[in-house]
């Protein structure tokens, strides 16, 4: 079972769904949401727990909406069970949780 080496947080309200981060992710950890944000964009979300924290996505993101985290040296890595929630839509007016639809697990850890 996969262990988390890194993760990203995406400011989805300012994400414009340009997909450049998705293109640049070597791990295919990112995808566009089905939902749109208040600006009408489908936004990027982390859809796998295989993020390595390589910062590629953050580097190419034109709107600087991605923050990248990596496991501290010697820090305890965590399991599926305790994934970091990846995103929260906060609508301009009131907060509404976004429901991410199931994405097929894939990649290295099948």
């Amino acid at each position: 079972m996969a262990t988390i080496r890194g993760t990203v947080q995406i400011q989805i309200e300012t994400c414009k769904g340009c997909e450049l981060c998705i293109e640049s992710c070597p791990q295919d950890s990112l995808a566009l949401s089905k939902e749109i944000n208040a600006k009408g964009y489908h936004y990027a979300v982390l859809v796998q727990d295989n993020c390595t924290g390589c910062v590629n996505c953050a580097l190419v993101c034109p709107d600087a909406v991605i923050t990248v985290y990596r496991t501290k040296k010697g820090g305890t890595s965590r399991t599926e069970a305790e994934k970091v929630p990846v995103a929260v839509i906060s609508h301009v007016k009131n907060d509404v949780k976004v429901v991410l639809d199931e994405v097929p697990q894939g990649g290295a850890n099948i």
Binding site: G6, T7, Q9, Q11, I12, E13, T14, K16, G17, C18, E19, L20, E23, S24, Y41, G53, V55, N56, A58, L59, V60, C61, P62, D63, A64, V65, I66, T67, V68, Y69, R70, T71, K72, G75, T76, S77, R78, E82, V84, P85, V88, S90
Partner: protein, 263 residues
């Protein structure tokens, strides 16, 4: 910030938006290179600790609002005159870091004269030149840097030499001027490109501190809206069609022309 703090213990932040960028969401279209360049520039300014000494000049072009995002003192210049305005600022505040940020229409069309003479005087400034081969702000007209055959709203049949002449490689000309100290052509389409650009900008500002003279950093960039492509398509098109005309790399380093650069 509309992120909810969640259990991140055990994790350290390895990349976050630089504090030298304001929180104002940028108005650029999805995937536009302007945003990426803003981000890298401000990272550099933050890391070099020159925020308080930096004065930027915004162009007229899509980056006209740059001062909404770059958290440094800025002046908004008339279309094409950013290099002249930068000269005015730098000559009177010689110890500040002064940069102008200009598009291809701004720098290589209406502003050609001010651009070239600032370089020829060896003004001790940094000029950041966003070459997206089109007039983004006004809705996708041909730019002097548009490549041959490129379709724009003013070249519906594609750019033709007869009526529009050749793609204008102004950085190559500027590299020829003794006043220019460092001239380079970079991009922001990939993580690697972004890392190179960061180096180039860092160098330029270092040079300016050392009063070495004029630095020009051209960034070959995209304009998904003007090109009528998705950002991903746009970057692919750029790699395939623009890089051959505008090859990435240094044109002049520490006052010496990098050979091979002469067509």
């Amino acid at each position: 910030m509309n992120l909810v703090a969640t259990n991140l213990e055990g994790l350290e932040c390895v990349w976050a938006k630089p504090a030298t960028l304001t929180d104002t969401p940028m108005h650029y279209c999805p995937g536009c290179g302007h945003g990426a360049v803003h981000k890298v520039l401000m990272e550099v300014i933050q890391e070099m600790g020159v925020q308080a000494d930096t004065i930027g000049i915004a162009p007229v072009g899509c980056a006209v609002f740059a001062y909404h995002y770059l958290n440094v003192d800025m002046q908004e210049a008339a279309h094409g005159r950013a290099s002249a305005v930068a000269t005015g600022v730098k000559r009177l505040l010689p110890d500040k870091i002064v940069f102008s940020y200009q598009g291809d229409g701004d720098l290589a069309a209406i502003g050609t004269n001010e651009t070239i003479h600032a370089a020829n005087r060896g003004e001790n400034i940094l000029v950041i030149f966003i070459n997206n081969a089109i007039y983004g702000m006004t809705g996708g007209q041909m730019a002097p840097t548009s490549i041959l055959g490129m379709k724009t709203t003013t070249t519906p049949e594609g750019r033709m030499v007869e009526t529009q002449g050749f793609p204008f490689k102004i950085s190559d000309l500027i590299a020829m001027l003794p006043g220019a100290y460092y001239v380079t052509r970079q991009a922001v389409h990939s993580p690697t490109a972004v890392r190179y650009l960061k180096k180039a900008l860092t160098k330029s500002i270092q040079y300016q501190k050392e009063k070495k003279g004029y630095c020009l950093v051209e960034v070959v960039s995209n304009c998904p809206s003007g090109w009528k492509m998705t950002p991903v398509e746009a970057n692919k098109w750029m790699e395939q069609n623009m890089f051959p005309v505008y090859p990435l790399g240094d044109l002049k380093v520490e006052g010496k022309l990098v050979e091979q650069k002469h067509q």
